[in-house]
Symmetry: C2
Subunit: 242 residues, 2 copies
């Protein structure tokens, strides 16, 4: 009886401590405010603070990231459904690639969710693996709208030298039948993402495409001219690109 | 001894149930995704879904709203500190009023945090009370930058008939020494917030002001021309204005 008493007492103490820990959440969360303001574009050019790695891991692993992403895609879908694409195949949707069409989460899980400074060597090795998975909600939008006379163009900040691996990664994950895949030429490396991407959107319009929308995880993916009447900003808790 | 055993056993069960409840959080939160995508401007023209009232109440009452707001203001402060205002008093910061300079939280607490459709009657009665508190972080930015040759203009969607009550509310809460307070004239009621606000920003520039920044809780507060090189989007979990 005494043994059972001791066991029960130990259990009570253990459970009480666990409950205390579970209930003790900070009233407000500095990393959540950091995340909010980077997504709002109020904080620019940041590197994820070390102390926020756990916050981002929780955001991603709880499913909240994918839920936020899916609702953004749903909003884009609702908007695009108000437009009927012409049969001439000139109605165009512009997409970014990284964290928009493809997910680099396997890479970022290995690199502390963005806490580390950008490392060209490990990043290029990852890109050349061509093994980034598709973001399901985006692939589903892509597939459905491809089937309705819509055309797609990918404009990415990746280097021209990565064309083959990038195209392969897109094909392998199910992104087939796009009109063009634009990567940075060596002489475009000094342009900001904003300048580089608007330049090519403008060129596509000059070639006769009618850009109706643009989707990206960075504000610089779709800011500036020739981005359609509505653009959609997808979540990216890990990094910021000018 | 047996009694103690029963008490301990009961405690174990109670604590285990409480711990279970505490740990049982949904993996992802649909209201959080709704909030994220309205703040991102992906979802437009929405009314807060009834089931999200509790989420917004939690966001506000946990302090997260004020934390997010304060970090946005801090980002604006960092940006504005890179500019030295000229002594001529023509360097201008444009501010919205509701949920930007003044908080209507007391009103929205009484109206389910935005779940109710806009009610002109109760809203106007609230505005005419002139009792909205200042948002502290904004008042502090305002006060500090007023002391450094910066000028401020308020451009609000409130009606011209509410000029006196609005000016009084601003003065009473500590917003003094502004250059102008712009409210909607009857013939501007059919303009979108975007059109109305850019029109007046443009006019201020024609009058010789140099707009360096614009802050508001709605994208329509600072979108379009004449909003400075950088604008700041403040959080507003409760309502959306075109």
């Amino acid at each position: 009886m005494a043994t059972i008493g001791i066991i029960l007492f130990t259990l009570v103490v253990t459970l009480a401590v666990m409950l205390g820990k579970c209930q003790k959440k900070p009233l407000s969360n500095a990393c959540a405010s950091f995340a909010f303001n980077t997504e709002m574009n109020n904080l620019q050019g940041y590197l994820l603070p070390q102390e926020c790695e756990g916050y981002v891991a929780g955001y991603v692993n709880s499913g909240q990231y994918h839920s936020d992403f899916a609702v953004a895609i749903e909003a884009a879908r609702t908007y695009l459904n108000t437009i009927e694409a012409d049969q001439d195949g000139k109605d165009l949707i512009v997409l970014d690639i990284d964290e928009t069409a493809l997910s680099n989460m396997p890479y970022y899980v290995d690199h502390h969710y963005g806490v580390e400074t950008f490392n060209g060597e490990t990043w290029n090795a990852w890109v050349n693996n061509a093994s980034a998975p598709a973001l399901d909600a985006m692939l589903s939008l892509y597939t459905d709208f491809r089937a309705q006379n819509w055309s797609f163009a990918f404009i990415t900040g990746r280097s021209k030298s990565q064309y083959n691996k990038t195209a392969q990664n897109l094909y392998d994950t199910g992104y087939t039948g796009w009109k063009t895949l634009v990567l940075r030429l060596p002489d475009e490396e000094n342009l900001t993402a904003d300048e580089y991407k608007s330049k090519h959107r403008k060129r596509l319009e000059e070639e006769g495409y009618r850009i109706k929308s643009c989707l990206g995880d960075q504000w610089s993916d779709c800011s500036g001219e020739s981005a359609g009447k509505r653009t959609f900003k997808l979540p990216n808790p890990m990094y910021y690109i000018y």
